[in-house]
Symmetry: C2
Subunit: 366 residues, 2 copies
């Protein structure tokens, strides 16, 4: 379990296979986000049909509601949400900070208090107080039972000082080591099969990123993630950081870049040898009436779509594009009809899977 | 086209077949409502899969947005909304009044002015002024191109005086005659195939209802509808009125009772020899987290569902009941997740189709 096999390579790019308890993931792979245990609007069968292999769910949200212990009573997240494929849960680290802090390193914010042993935060739902430690986050993710779980990390703001980035990174390293130990203990106890991925941090500072890459690689876990990017910095900085990291990553382990997922970002990531990526954009944009297309984003609300008989993207062969005109989709979106949001979300996820498939073909030389 | 064949009878109840340009409808039939050109949350394929044979759409809403003339440019409503089965459009009469008046017969309301030749009303969307005449309503419904279209009627409030009910009914009779004439003219011009159904009115007054039944039956159109019921009167009154009407209806034509659609109402209607019914309840209740079940309505929001591993209705075999627990559906509804609304809407429509199928079996003696 959790072996990663590289199948084809072209330059730094590669295709691979990652074995999980709920099936083998063919990489590179775009992972749709199902924050609260549902990829917004999508039935599991629809996800499968459009080629989604693995979905994400959020520890922070599911811990608060309906509660990880309640989900465990139903035999874990797969059964609770009726998704038979692999699942990855994030660690809640990103949410604890992004929902509590702004884009500065002001850690005195009322909603979040960072301590050596963990983070105190207030629920965005009811203001109740909670405390996440590395051990607690492992326990929650064991209760949820995803195939891939993430180490608890602090995701510092893009604009933080080097001093703060270093402090934060070192704490994240100590937390990752605790997570590894606690995870092993919980696995032994439960007999479950879950892969833990650590998360490289270090802000926008190349030397810190190198330190973090070395530390996390040395933990020798089944995969490795790059966190703390796409948090407000210019994309040129994002890729400079990634380029710093990549040569120092273990080659034979899946590499996951967190929170990345536009067409251009996916192409850039795959080119550099990244294997996994996730993003909320397909469903978030769908909800707001925007569709990805091969010629850029299309805002269905625009008057120009009112009598447009074309599909969203004439080059796309998803269910939405095969069956509906821009005019009808515009009508549904203008009327706030759920079907419109659903059809656009489906198209947007399909579109990103298609982008990945195109890149795969290039790697395979097809 | 538009022949109605009675297949089986048991007492007053009957099963039948009604031929339309988009397929034969097996009656009795529950027709889900797609007000704005979408049965809320449902893909056409899902409707087909759960046994929906014909859907409704609303003239009033589609006339205002996106406009019947725009829909005509797309080859009519079937093509515009991607529904290949039969469609019925109402006449907009009910909406003009229900969205403009309260439950009294105060016709001086600012939003609606009834005149001999039609009704002036203001759009609920932007307050713009519009005038519906019987001819205009025929023209709109010809543009929409549904298989079954409805004559323009006035639907008086449940509490109106007999004097007003009579005046209103007589006007509706004159309008129905104009509709018939205009419809024939338009059919001749376009070569389209659409069946016009007139609507029996007369308020809660049995003698008026008898007059209206005679008048509308004498128009000799392919089907006939009973309107102006379930508008606030007690159900005992509803069925008393229906019982007054039924013996005087042509036997060999489909009978449609408008706006009826709970389990009990459907059973009562079928028993009396009604063939068609529609109701917005399945999707409206679904949107609010309520499911029909064989033991009554279930409000998923109730705390008691939080850890409930049962399906919504253990006796139901719809997609929702086969795949999801009450606990997960509750979670989705509490989180305002679209998938929850969708799954409950699907279940509720399926549930009413199943009620009809049960009643059919009784008629067939199975």
């Amino acid at each position: 379990m959790f072996e990663f096999k590289i199948v084809h390579e072209k330059g730094a790019a590669r295709t691979g296979q990652f074995k999980t308890p709920h099936g083998t993931i063919e990489t590179p792979v775009f992972m749709p986000v199902g924050t609260k245990g549902t990829v917004k609007t999508m039935k599991p069968e629809e996800l499968k049909e459009i080629g989604s292999q693995i979905i994400l769910a959020n520890t922070y949200h599911l811990y608060l509601r309906p509660g990880d212990k309640n989900i465990a009573k139903f035999g874990g997240l797969h059964k609770f949400i009726n998704w038979k494929g692999p699942i990855l849960t994030d660690s809640g680290g990103y949410q604890v900070f992004s929902l509590g802090l702004g884009s500065t390193n002001k850690t005195t914010d009322k909603l979040v208090k960072i301590k050596e042993d963990g983070v105190e935060f207030r629920s965005i739902l009811d203001g109740s107080k909670h405390f996440f430690t590395p051990k607690k986050v492992m326990e929650i993710q064991h209760n949820l039972g995803a195939d891939i779980i993430m180490a608890f990390d602090e995701c510092p703001p893009a604009l933080c000082s080097k001093k703060y980035a270093k402090e934060s990174m070192e704490r994240t390293h100590r937390w990752a080591a605790i997570c590894k130990k606690e995870h092993a203990k919980l696995l032994k106890k439960s007999g479950k099969k879950q892969a833990l991925f650590p998360i490289i941090q270090g802000g926008m500072f190349e030397d810190l990123r190198l330190q973090s890459t070395k530390f996390m690689s040395d933990l020798d876990l089944p995969g490795i993630a790059i966190g703390g990017l796409a948090v407000g910095e210019p994309r040129s900085t994002t890729w400079k950081i990634v380029d710093t990291i990549i040569p120092h990553l273990p080659k034979n382990k899946p590499r996951y870049i967190m929170g990345i997922g536009t067409k251009q970002d996916i192409i850039e990531a795959i080119k550099r040898g990244i294997d996994m990526f996730d993003c909320v954009l397909p469903t978030r944009l769908g909800r707001h009436g925007t569709a990805f297309t091969s010629t850029g984003n299309l805002n269905l609300k625009n008057e120009s779509n009112k009598l447009d008989e074309k599909s969203v993207d004439p080059k796309c062969s998803c269910y939405t594009c095969k069956n509906y005109t821009r005019a009808y989709l515009r009508h549904l979106i203008m009327e706030k009809e759920i079907l419109g949001i659903h059809l656009l979300s489906l198209h947007n996820i399909y579109f990103l899977h298609a982008v990945v498939n195109e890149e795969k073909k290039k790697i395979l030389g097809k």
